[in-house]
Symmetry: C2
Subunit: 298 residues, 2 copies
């Protein structure tokens, strides 16, 4: 069995490490040939709190992707996914098994389209703490779960076997609630940390930032129709802040590096989804324009 990991960001590099740990034959497809050749020549440095290890990987530029592998793990961010969509729906990828690991929900339509067209499609959520330190180095800050759920039809695939015992894999029945819960947490945490340039833990310490986070949580909860689970999800929210208190969210890191953030896939999705349902989201619109304003300044 061969696996293709698409995307050389933090999640893509981590997936390659986790798969190599299981001696799965894995190839990484990167946006640039520069990163691919760096990975081929120098290997991929995997670090966690206790160890450092160089992993030899197959790495190619995305241009050479021909879907020769059986399993395709898609780790690019939402904006890059839009560019990739044409290739994914081409005949080349028929019959393959897909795992999508994106934040937000903007990729639901694409996943459903593929699932309706002879692909075995799984939605996934990576809960690992991970930072890309260089183009060929990741720091695995916290072990988490990979949650997976089949899209539309349940395809026959055992992800627990693929990733092995060391990596926790949780199988979910429905993908929309799984993605919604992750989106809810991201919509509450990420833009506030990015706006104030704070670590996740500060959201619980500063009573005003806490209130901002809860305001955004309440709006997203309503739009995503998760009100019935409010108490449990609020506990999840606080738990994530506590467990990742020293982390800088991916949105904060994007802002600090002058990269485009995922604000459109996260807060933007809440706003447009709310509009379709006739739910106003003024607080989410405030934080959305705030992050867009900072991006605009560059």
């Amino acid at each position: 069995m061969r696996v293709a990991v698409i995307g050389g960001g933090a999640i893509g590099l981590l997936m390659a490490c986790l798969l190599e740990r299981q001696q799965v034959n894995t190839a990484i497809y990167c946006r640039t040939e520069k990163q691919a050749s760096l990975l081929r020549e120098n290997g991929l440095l995997y670090k966690n709190e206790g160890m450092e290890k160089v992993i030899q990987v197959h790495a190619y530029s995305i241009d050479s992707l021909a879907f020769e592998e059986d399993i395709i793990v898609i780790c690019v961010k939402q904006p890059a996914l839009a560019q990739l969509a044409k290739l994914l729906v081409s005949d080349l990828s028929k019959g393959k098994t897909f795992l999508f690991l994106q934040n937000g929900m903007s990729h639901v339509e694409l996943m459903e389209e593929l699932a309706g067209k002879e692909r075995k499609v799984w939605a996934g959520v990576a809960e690992h703490g991970v930072m890309k330190e260089k183009d060929n180095a990741v720091y695995h800050a916290g072990e988490g779960r990979i949650r997976v759920a089949p899209v539309i039809v349940k395809p026959d695939f055992n992800w627990e076997n693929l990733f092995g015992d060391t990596t926790k894999v949780e199988q979910n029945a429905a993908y929309i609630p799984m993605l919604s819960e992750k989106l809810l947490i991201n919509a509450a945490i990420n833009p506030v940390t990015a706006l104030f340039k704070i670590k996740n833990g500060m959201l619980l310490e500063n009573p005003h930032y806490l209130k901002l986070m809860e305001y955004l949580f309440d709006e997203a909860l309503q739009v995503l129709e998760l009100q019935k689970q409010k108490d449990g999800l609020l506990e999840d929210l606080y738990r994530v802040c506590r467990n990742t208190k020293n982390n800088r969210s991916s949105m904060l890191r994007d802002i600090d590096s002058g990269r485009k953030t995922e604000i459109d896939s996260i807060s933007g999705y809440i706003i447009t989804s709310g509009e379709k349902k006739g739910i106003d989201t003024p607080m989410t619109r405030m934080i959305y324009e705030s992050i867009k304003g900072i991006e605009w300044e560059g």
Copy 2:
């Protein structure tokens, strides 16, 4: 005729300069004896784009205020005004003429109380661009108007005569609309500039910051019941941003210096006033908690 200026901040020092220019006998009452003695010993340095001039002033600590002057111009900020209130309503100040120059509307109650008790009370709005450079130095960045309006009963006083031809004084009939219009502009401009640490002009350049400003404007417009004048007031808003494009708002300067801001008198007033009228102000609540959060970090 003798005038007491209470408060040694930017507006207080500027008022002393404008009055001294008219050779009005003026005393400044400062929060600290340190500032008062600095002013007495070294004079007050007045600067504008074309000139610098040292003005000799009478300066005392607020502890020695005995209302011996005829005219009392109150230039302290809202939080300090609360501490001063007891002294102002004491019998000592009976029969005197008051001019209140504060942002926000939290002082309306105090002004009305005094106006009902044998004081001649005027509300005022200072539209000058002014920065305090040191405890005894002000930079007068832009000439503006001083707008005045009588509170409750129209007292007999000619502010145009007091300030002379060089300082524009505009007499208004009603004080609530005058203060509301100023509050509206402040509620839209000040917290956005303070949050993003930007000069006023950037509010027109960055389309996302512009949107944030307009969101706050719309909420405040509704709470202050100024909807009928929307077009004209929106023009005023843009004009203020253009005319003060290189200015850093007082709220931004307070944040940068680690001082307490006027967020409670501005956005906080809009929120509580909205609550009394059954109008929700979610966007104003977002910016309110944002500024409070930054203040909390100190």
